[in-house]
Symmetry: D2
Subunit: 403 residues, 4 copies
């Protein structure tokens, strides 16, 4: 139910004769990480091309376009715009040509020092056509101009500050790079002898790939015809984004060794231990509260139920008609099930609370549907500060945990 | 998880100065009943116009088009094509002009004798531009040519055989009609002094309307400036479509006095009584198995869990890429949660089973994810015969319950 | 330069294995007769389907759609909307099913008694989904219900009043019909043993067909596997639309035995004889004044020149930006060639003059470009009365010839 | 009738509160110079934005988008792709941010040393996202990094080799630049106290602007709030593109002091002097042969006529259906007027002849239409060598003048 929004999902595969189709399916499995634009870059070892557009994966690609994308190595991207407005120019993968050939780049995360790097590059003659971090990184690589892109990346890591899980494709190489803190997830798998990189393991599962391991914080994995090579840059302070576990990632994904659903369920159990209550029923705010609500029910022994029905057709283009005297608001998304709630003391579990305005309406809806008592439990720790690593957050003064 | 597909949702409102917006929201709440086309017809008492197209409600209508639709009475329709292919010509509401003026018609259901009626009308000079039942009904009304459309409908009901929940809009009147068996749902509500008709009560809830009652089998309700009038044609044998309760309707809707979620939950309880089993966990096939799985858990006391993650981005335009050696099939929709299932004896609840091919794959997935035992429980009674009232069913010889 | 607008072009072919492609090219040659919508109906002898949309021929059809249109008989239509607004529903060919099967109909012209026929049909139970004359004609045919469509048409002609050149396609037959006055053109040709019908001979030339003859006023030609049969209904008073020769038709077409360019050129010669003047140069208003200007020059011996350049990219979607203090008006379409005009006495030839507002601006432009004298000559006779046969004319009180 | 294709048109205006609308109209007047993509960049002095897409001016911009483009300075571009394939990425104006702010650039012409410049820039760290010359020029400007863009351009001119008429917009300045040879046209005008730059004077006429003068070869004109400043870089050898006069430019434009129509007419007169013939009629191949045919008629005294009708609806999306046994070829574009040609000795005037295949078909068509003799006269000098300055030419071995 959170109003937080994640920014991106990345995917890459090297050495599979079905590369475009598998990237399509991989992106489709990562669609929850971004619905604003999507793209696939592909290479057959000689040329490198890209197709990207605004919209969701299945709106941009069809059987015909996928069939036309020839090559055994490709990367993809789904995007929710954090930096840079939502325009085709800002869609990824970004493809540039530079002194060593062509380079496609997909980025998940947010650089803290993007503006500074940009100004530095501009002052020595670089130009920029988008407002994305990806273009800053690509230009940095081009400027470092080392013998190999891997060498350039080792150097690059010294300049980049912030969260970045990146996949890069050149004509000869697929590279995966995770920032020294390991803020955003990136994992490695294999399928039919080819290597696969993905933001989440659910993408590996969807295409039938086998999980190998997470890419390590600060690690650069390079996949080419010679196989996989790894370079470890000095790791930073370990600093996962907690919202991957609380809200962004799919429950069936495993991140850094932990299944997301089980983590959320454990959060629910812990909530019950720390903030137990005598009640008749535990209900989640769908969908992100479900895992935690199950944990709460398992720990507390209070009956589990579904107290809200969610309309699954709310999409990017849904408009909420203006009406003078009525705010349809939350009613369009959630409808309470009176038969489940009426006369009961309800524990309502959600993943996080930002400004609190939505939760206020939810409690009011539960009361109207006949709830005797409503106990709200939130799995996230108090959300008190704005995030600089890529999560779209409101002004920190509006955060209810600070008021 | 059923491969059955429902055909339509209908909505109507009379006497509200926000008619177009409310019909848009009503259709949006009924979107689960049909995603192939949608339309809204509106009248200001003098003229009557329609906007309809292929696609979902929020793809067809935007703030600008809704703003341009002036009038205080309108009807709408969402469609999954059963009879008639999916073309714009077949989208509804159908608007025709005839001797008494203009008439817009939205239909949910299937006539059993549509071809016979069509031939009869053609033999006396009628022409048809679509392959829908709606056009047959509209022409029948025009032919009966009574003083009022209500009189024509009373006559009409004698000819129509099959399932039909219909809303009709003329310049002066909103009419709701439900077949004498009451096969498809249709309910009546009120909002700000205006009357509302809808396939399901969830549409009333979404717009904030108050539920009055279900339209009765064989009833013709007519709403005009004079208020609501009801004509009862002779009722037939009561014959609800069981799939409304099992699968089609939204769990938060009430049909003929019963909440869908509670009915499904009760099905689950009954399943536990009739086919109990010693097991470690009860899991639903999302989403249609959830309510029954909760009932099963409540009755049996076996732990409830979510064993599958569903990809919610599968839409009409999603293509499954061809690949020689691999059938992605169910993997694209459902991913098992190994951490929930491994080493356990699992009761897996689904709403229905048609040919059994999907369930076979689901059981296999659960086994691969480490389930020790898998017990399948289906809420629907054995599905043995093809349906002639509007459900898209396979050849009855392929129904697993008959093999 | 006329603001008059023609309504439609029709085309048909029977017995050619390249029917869809040839109809496409035929319509493309008739595109000047209507740019608002276009469509092709095709049959392989068993089924009959249609593809039509708003836009020009090359916007609606591409290689893929044409390839998918199988059959050896088809009809087509290009439309500028006179009656009926410009909606997809009103696009033609109209396809209806009736007691004898399916029927596709393309109509050029305007019925004078369409409303009366419509009311008569409605009063006995017909319904209408469009506002076109074509639907009235199709319903009339269905009502007459004779053994053959040809018999029904013979009867039909007794009821229809006005201008109509019609092509009809059933699964087995292509029919062409021209009203008893012969107001709109319709000609017959042959290609590779198949028969072709078209509004103008330029469509025959474009596909390489041989002209056979014009369809006669009141004639019904029916083409089937048995060959061509002709029925002559009683002819009416001969009454060609003079605007076909003056403005609508392409100069390279021959209508009722006369080449349009030569007729226009003759008009120009006659103008010179009747309204000669001593001048330095004769210039046309492009494009419709060119043929007459050449005739004027040939007769008078005054030098011919091109005094205006026309912007050929003005299309349906061109918008004229609003600006407070300036009316771009005619400047966007026509730019005078100062070098040709300066210091000269100019004879300026146009095809017709309706309200005179445009001509006023043209004369002013010529003066500004340095013309010493401007003599306007119009080939059309004084345009004094509104047209009831399908030409979009302003209120007759605004016609300059009446003031 | 030439198969040569021009590449681009550019437009700019500074200091007019109607800048977006006027740029739209200016581009519309230049549409003949490129129909593949179009774009407008605009600035209000603080920010600078761009809207561009594939298609023609009136397909890309509508009243709403133009209204949303706020600012009093803007540049525009219409494009036919010579270098760089026809993709949105390659559409212009190109907008980049660099050390001095933002810069929009529209280019007409072709650099001879683009690849060399590109490699040089890449070797010092530049990246490229398109395959256009414009991106090379923009990066060169960014690299030169002088205090002002004008200073950078003075330096830039030393590196650029080839044809280039460029307009550049920054937040504060509109700049026009024409290569030292003056190969492509660029003119300067004024409207309501604002300055205007355009590829051809017809754009000035269309918006009602007053022609001031042509931009000089090698001249950089810079327009800002301080007014107009001019810098003259060393001029090169004067080398106009003859095809501007023969074929590309609109007849009503004046280029470097000469009206295009009059130049073409003079070409026709000269042809008559050099290659006179006794004949009955002079006809042009429309549209590019018209001016010359008039000159030929005036000089020779042979009667002028229109012997071909041109279909004006051939556009970018027109497809020529495949047919085994027939090449519709030229028939789709041109239809001879038998009544004008039959029995006559015809002089047929065209602007240029490239491979001669089209002319062969034209002569054959004239013969079939009854011409007694056909005399072909071409205004262009023998076309013997490929062009490196931006004209799309076939392999020089296929040029008929070399055979």
């Amino acid at each position: 139910m959170s109003s937080l929004r994640e920014e991106c999902g990345v995917f890459g595969i090297f050495g599979h004769n079905n590369a475009a189709n598998l990237t399509y399916l991989g992106l489709y499995a990562l669609q929850h990480r971004g619905q604003e634009s999507a793209g696939i870059a592909i290479s057959d070892g000689t040329d490198l091309s890209v197709l990207k557009d605004l919209g969701m994966v299945n709106q941009i690609f069809d059987a015909e376009t996928l069939y036309s994308m020839k090559g055994d190595r490709s990367i993809g991207h789904v995007r929710y715009s954090t930096t840079g407005s939502n325009t085709v120019a800002n869609a990824q993968p970004l493809v540039v040509s530079y002194s060593k050939g062509k380079l496609a780049l997909s980025h998940n995360g947010n650089l803290v020092n993007a503006d500074e790097l940009r100004r530095r590059l501009e002052s020595s003659g670089s130009t920029f056509q988008t407002t994305t971090d990806s273009e800053v990184i690509a230009n940095l690589i081009a400027r470092l101009g080392r013998n190999s892109i891997r060498e350039a990346l080792v150097e690059c890591v010294k300049s980049l500050k912030g969260a970045y899980s990146i996949v890069i494709l050149t004509e000869n190489e697929l590279i995966g790079l995770r920032d020294p803190h390991g803020i955003r997830p990136l994992c490695l798998g294999s399928l039919d002898g080819s290597y696969v990189l993905a933001s989440e393991t659910c993408a590996l599962d969807t295409i039938g790939a086998t999980f190998i391991r997470d890419v390590r914080p600060g690690e650069i994995v390079s996949i080419s015809k010679k196989g996989l090579e790894s370079v470890l840059t000095p790791p930073g302070k370990r600093a996962s984004c907690i919202f991957e576990f609380i809200y962004f990632a799919r429950p069936d994904s495993r991140i850094d060794g932990k299944n997301v659903h089980m983590v959320r369920s454990e959060f629910g159990r812990q909530l019950s231990k720390e903030h137990g209550v005598k009640a008749d029923i535990v209900i989640p705010i769908p969908d992100s509260g479900i895992s935690a609500a199950i944990g709460y029910y398992l720990e507390s022994g209070i009956e589990y139920g579904e107290g809200f029905m969610k309309n699954r057709y709310v999409g990017r283009t849904f408009i909420q008609p203006r009406q003078k005297d009525r705010d349809f608001g939350i009613s369009l998304k959630l409808n309470p099930l009176r038969e489940v709630i009426e006369g009961k003391s309800v524990v309502c579990i959600d993943d996080s609370i930002v400004r609190g305005t939505t939760m206020k309406k939810i409690v009011s809806k539960l009361k109207k549907a006949g709830a005797r008592e409503v106990h709200v439990r939130i799995t996230s720790p108090p959300y008190k500060y704005a995030c600089f690593y890529g999560i779209d957050t409101p002004n920190s003064k509006k955060l209810i945990a600070r008021i």
